[in-house]
Symmetry: C2
Subunit: 205 residues, 2 copies
């Protein structure tokens, strides 16, 4: 399947389909219909059919899609059969929680090491936490393309710049501040406090 030909909006929904299909109990769902997927994800049925057609062709009339085959097709299309290695900078509580979380590998990303200015005092359950002066050589040697930033907002831009100088082209930022990145670098801003602010707004509306 040529993913260049898949619309961007469709591509953005594919991980959701994948997650949904993986979470279904195996025995009960050898086959699954577009209608059931649409209900499960609160999407329109026409959209589901269109999205999945671009990945695996049409389902069989009246029975739908073979679940396992559809999962494989989605994984291949998303490139999750090959894992992207990532580093994390800032091994505070949130950083260590992300380091030890294994669910990211199912989506094709593995956080292989954490870095912290206070590395000698820190331990993650499963992964190395290294001192900050090892960051640059590590990224270069291991051809790292993705960096996760979980330092405080004062240090975030400096860490971001250093990652980008050393070949990182995608940044996942948890620091509560806006980062400047040059063209060609992808930035995903995660702002947990704003999510909570959103809910609080709703409660007070």
């Amino acid at each position: 399947m040529n993913r260049q030909s898949i619309p961007k909006a469709t591509l953005g929904r594919l991980p959701q389909y994948l997650q949904y299909l993986r979470n279904l109990s195996e025995e009960r769902n050898a086959m699954i219909s577009a209608a059931a997927i649409a209900r499960g994800l609160q999407l329109g049925e026409v959209q589901v059919r269109k999205d999945l057609a671009s990945v695996s062709g049409a389902g069989k009339p009246k029975v739908g899609y073979e679940r396992i085959a559809l999962i494989k097709a989605l994984e291949e299309c998303l490139g999750y059969d090959k894992v992207t290695n990532a580093v994390l900078v800032g091994a505070g509580k949130l950083g260590r929680a992300l380091l030890d979380y294994e669910g990211f590998e199912e989506f094709g990303v593995k956080i292989v090491a954490g870095f912290d200015c206070n590395a000698s005092n820190l331990q993650s359950g499963k992964k190395d936490i290294l001192p900050l002066d090892k960051l640059v050589p590590y990224c270069v040697e291991n051809d790292i393309k993705l960096g996760v930033i979980t330092v405080g907002q004062d240090a975030a831009q400096e860490v971001c710049d250093r990652l980008i100088e050393n070949g990182i082209t995608a940044i996942w930022n948890f620091a509560p501040c806006t980062l400047d990145v040059p063209a060609g670098v992808f930035l995903k801003q995660e702002n947990l406090a704003l999510s909570l602010a959103f809910l609080n707004n709703k409660l007070r509306a």
Copy 2:
């Protein structure tokens, strides 16, 4: 200021303005222009002027807004002068990281206690972690309206149902699954793995 009259999209952006203004260094920015705010947040200048007009009136020509007064106006408008109490269920690593994070209070939410089926073995740095059978009486006694779910996906719907039965009307879900909530309950789904999948997609495009 009557927040009922503020458009929903504007309301959604207000926490970002607040965060941005708070992060500016105090001495340098007694006054701030709409143009500077627009640049900092990568928004259009016209939009910034319109949004802020609904909160605090227009800025002064050529000089802009008084930073401290604008922060106060935003906080009042968003109701952050009164804090909403929240509980968290599932005190694993991510749960404990959220429990100890203090940045939420700046946005009007305080996670006051955590609950876990394995509470006796867990310790958070700053807040109580209580056994799960204390959840219902705690929510009722403390008039809790917001619940944070950081349990695994197998337990998430059950926890969600229990919270809603006991008066919670806003749910912040970190479990990687879609939750069913009745009409009138606000749900904010946080899916960290999907964020990472998004970046990975970009890298492979």
